[in-house]
């Protein structure tokens, strides 16, 4: 698969490396030209410097022929809008946005945007961890 990832932070860069190790092709977009250092030496994929909602930047990263698009910049709103562009303008069927705010994640999921909400996931996992603790202090 050819995957474009917007945002080269902790999550974006690790995801890029994972997909590369699985044999996929990857392009990464970040506003900060220094962010590519997160990808480690000898990263075989593309790195494009620019805004994730800029159509020209997205095209330079190859979104027009990508099989999947992931938006994981540090801005929820940037991620939602970038995913809307990838899906609606560039026709990427598999486009997903990382959205920290559960309210916006839910609202835009209802509007047809695939969202992953780490806040909600963490809350559920932490609650489950608490529930699974059987021992109470006596």
């Amino acid at each position: 698969m050819y995957v474009v990832i917007a945002g080269c932070g902790r999550v974006g860069s690790a995801l890029a490396q994972q997909l590369i190790s699985e044999g996929h092709q990857v392009a990464v977009i970040d506003e900060d030209p220094e962010a590519f250092t997160q990808l480690g030496e000898d990263f075989p994929g593309e790195f494009v410097t620019g805004a994730a909602i800029d159509w020209d930047i997205l095209e330079e990263a190859g979104v027009d022929h990508a099989d999947a698009f992931v938006a994981a910049t540090d801005g929820d709103n940037t991620n939602i809008v970038a995913t809307q562009i990838a899906k609606e303008h560039f026709g990427v069927q598999c486009a997903v946005a990382r959205v920290y705010d559960p309210a916006r994640a839910e609202l835009f999921a209802e509007a047809g945007i695939r969202t992953v909400c780490p806040t909600k996931d963490a809350r559920e996992m932490l609650a489950e961890a608490v529930h699974s603790c059987q021992i109470t202090r006596g």
């Binding site: 909602i53 800029d54 929820d76 709103n77 809008v81 809307q84 562009i85 609606e88 916006r104 609202l107």
Partner: protein, 246 residues
Amino acid sequence: MSDHEGVKAVFVVIVGGGKVGLNVARSLVSMGHEVILVERRKYRYDLLVEELEEKLLLGDGTEIWVLEKAGIARADLVVAVTGDDEDNLIIAQVAKRKYGVKKVIARVNNPRNQATFDMLGVEPTICATTNILALVRRELPEHKLVHLLTLKRENLEIVELEVSEHSPVAGKAIEEITLPEGALLTAILRGGKAHMARMKAVIEPGDYVLCLVEPGTEKDLIHVMLPEEAPEKVQAEGEPEYLGGE
């Protein structure tokens, strides 16, 4: 709702307390309308709160709970004028989709993002850069057709053309001119005054004419109105993507 100088008061939620948001808020308040201005930056909030008091709300206007606290559910109008286009896009979509706000006005900071606002159906939009460029182009003598206003939803534009002595329509009455399909000559500007385009009115060199056109008609209109010998000065095609129509 109350009446103020015969104008029905509306409730407006403005997001973004920069110069634009503040001055829009001030003007609406002075017109007697009900206003809430949402500002995220604490230092800016502190600066404005003495003047605006309960009309100012500290918070991130792209957060749904902040918008609810501002009273978006009963807003007649939402104005999204932050300095971030992605924020304005989200505010506008949340307002329309979740709260059914009838009218949302959004600011485009970077003209490169105009296409995204259009794609997502966020309109009307205001872009200072685009507006200023359009005005600058109006002052440049080689620009013979200028887009004055674009009504996207209505699929209509108002354009202005300068008539020179070499123009094929110079000296002709309006009823003698065959305009292209989708174009209507509405007014003649002469000596700084506008004249309604009556059938018998004669167009003179130096006049500016205002036309209502459907987008895409500009090239044919230029062909009818402007002299052939200067095709390189024609601006209907190949113009910067963020100016005028698409």
